[in-house]
Assembly symmetry: D2
């Protein structure tokens, strides 16, 4: 299937590893040029090198926390007219509701709500003017099925979900779509990290923690990052311009609710 | 993007025209063999001929109402081991709630609920045994945003939505996914028909009726059938096995609700 | 709290036992006159006798299946101008999806979808003309969280949910509200019956079956029928005229989804 | 209907005027003692005086912004063991998405997300220990139906919605319920203010602005604050302990979505 994005430019925050990296690979394979972003220059450089060696695309790298204004400056310098934007960032660690402190909220809000929205304020006017835009945020299954241990995550990501939905209504007529992907348990470093959290909290072995992760998924397996990347690529396609304001769950069929 | 469905077999109910026909084209282009189904042999024959001339796939035709047991017998004979099933059928005409009669319900229930489910009862055991299945139903935006004039439509399609969701939970572990596509105003004969209904009910011209359709869509245009077909193709992809129980709206960003 | 329904008349289908009976008691206590309906005259007569002895209200009884036209004739004769209507009926038994037969659907559709809607077609015009109506359906938690074993239940009740939502939009301006209550595990004969089903299917004792029911509820207990009745009474209140199209879950906080 | 809350104590943030004041009146009428909170001592004093003269309850007043730690200290001093907590605060003004600044978010997050949650962290342990709690937040219809002009509102209130849902799951077993009320256009000073915003933005008269507000509501009227107050009172009732994690819309039947 030709996705019609050859030669498009993408700013991909949080794309040097994990799900973001899978997204980068999927659209580079389809011919899109990308700006890779991550916390360390080693990761970013390697990602850029891999993409340019594997695919006939341009790739640039920006190191740093994409929620920061200075890093957003660099992202925009690297790609002043993005057609595609991926909003992705590290989620907060689990924390019991009663233990959450004011600083935890400050950090989570900046990472998951105000940082990403500030980036959108920079890119939306141009997308609107140019008549093409594909904005996709990596959210979490938690936003539809909250668990109090992850309050910092869904407490901010649900806010983002709402703002993006409102925005999607305004932008549809400019062929600018805004969607979210809601992953639940993909086989990335994040799940490794969550397994170690579970080992500590529950006093279980690594194998037990991983088995619990799999048992929580109706598909009976973790998701593969490339499955995630290809779903992202599809939402970026030229022919996906009629799909907006959606929250697509990639969770192995695990969500309980009908909608 | 390689969807990994080359050589797969698909039973596509209601696929000789409109959205179903677009679905057929999209997966045939990706190399899937298809059984075309429609109400008239002229349409079915032409669709089969087009597909086999355009793509290197096998195509067979079954004429008749796919909600009928005898037609389902023929569909299963034409393709005893389907990998992909599209549930698609003509929706009922608008009717004021107080005017709906018992026979209207009988017909709508058979077309949109019990007929499609009877077909699934035939195909699910085999998909489960073979470890691959992609079931997609064409539903309607109405199921999330009901309008009493379309009670016959969402009164049955929401029922189907629920049954498919329950089923999706059972089948995820067999790599059998069950999803729905929710179109809102695609440029097909259905919208032509709805425009003529609106002309009668509201006493407006054809042009006004079409303009009203477009005005109801936030994207400011009707959807193109091939956009629908490609979304269907993506949900049928090998790499879409982690996506199940979803109701993907293709509505130009028009749905009001956050979820 | 004065609910402002003293002297109002209510048709309560399925109200001689269980949750329906609790609804009857709650509004009779508030001074509403009621028509009791149930399958056996013994139950209906006793319910009528209890209400008239306990409260200063009129109570009448109609025996029979409220989904039948003849019984609906009697209900309307007993109360030609109802202000309140409760839609309640026995749910179908659990059945594996692949075992469901055409006749199962016929029966479930009549009981849970077309029967209740036929009753509404009788009462809605009068409510609209009189400028007051409170329509409440007893649905099930399953409609938001389907389980394939209960396909006959949510496959029909979700359809009803949709039709009622559409209808609620039309009727709001006449001070006619339409809402649903979604119970999950109340301490009634229904749960006794479900426990016996579980004993057979799972090979467990009665005590284990009951413990499993309680374990499935986040509140750690079954609901009390009078809690259900009072929620119904509140939705019937004069001051509840601004609440319509709602699906209120009474499930001890068990539903996973955010909406 | 006896709500069973006579003698209970309630902390009601934002309760000297508007919807919060209606909530205070409704539960004071049912015999609950209340702590009134508002921005000016004139309002708070008058509210306290009215309640104590009208009902046989104790009422205390705390002046100040309830999102501030110091004001929360005073609220807890005035009522160390609350049985009922109302989370209510002034919503932010409408603002175009591209004009929102970092400081706008800081303020909105504090008012609608972190401030209310900090208050909950103070009251939840006691409610849990005492085995009774009724937490109700006044949210907005926007959380289910976002409009980009109100991004500051739903961008924070949806976050709160998620955190409260997660929390509700943990607290159900302690007879502590957590619910939200979602008002849409009640006849309070807030709608006066919104009318003046509309006059400026749209260049319309006051009468036109008010007519537009009414036209947006399917019930054809604004809600009455006392309707809101009584819905709050019902959720606080002893017999509402099985209702938790709900988002009850009070919107005159206006919400489009089925759930």
């Amino acid at each position: 299937m030709d996705l019609g994005i050859k030669g498009r430019w993408a700013i991909l925050s949080g794309s040097s590893r994990g799900l973001g990296w899978a997204c980068a690979q999927s659209i580079a394979r389809e011919g899109a040029n990308v700006v890779i972003n991550g916390r360390t220059s080693a990761d970013v450089d390697e990602a850029v090198a891999q993409l340019t060696s594997l695919y006939r695309v341009e790739a640039r790298g920006v190191v740093g926390d994409s929620a920061m204004a200075s890093v957003q400056d660099e992202l925009m310098s690297a790609c002043p007219e993005p057609d595609i934007v991926l909003l992705n960032g590290q989620g907060p660690s689990p924390k019991a509701f009663l233990d959450i402190e004011s600083e935890d909220w400050d950090s989570a809000v900046r990472q998951a709500l105000t940082g990403p929205l500030a980036l959108l304020q920079r890119v939306v006017p141009g997308m609107r003017d140019r008549g093409f835009g594909r904005i996709v945020a990596v959210s979490s299954a938690m936003v539809k099925s909250p668990n109090s241990l992850m309050s910092l995550s869904h407490g901010t990501r649900l806010g983002l979900t709402g703002v993006l939905k409102g925005l999607s209504k305004d932008l549809a007529k400019y062929n600018v779509t805004v969607n979210q992907l809601l992953p639940e348990r993909f086989d990335t470093a994040r799940q490794e990290q969550m397994a170690h959290v579970a080992m500590k909290i529950l006093g279980i072995t690594y194998e037990e923690a991983r088995a619990q992760q799999i048992a929580s998924i109706k598909a009976g397996r973790l998701g593969r990052p490339e499955e995630f990347g290809d779903a992202f690529a599809f939402l970026c396609a030229a022919q996906a311009g009629y799909i907006s304001g959606q929250n697509l769950q990639l969770d192995g069929g695990s969500y309980e609710g009908v909608f």
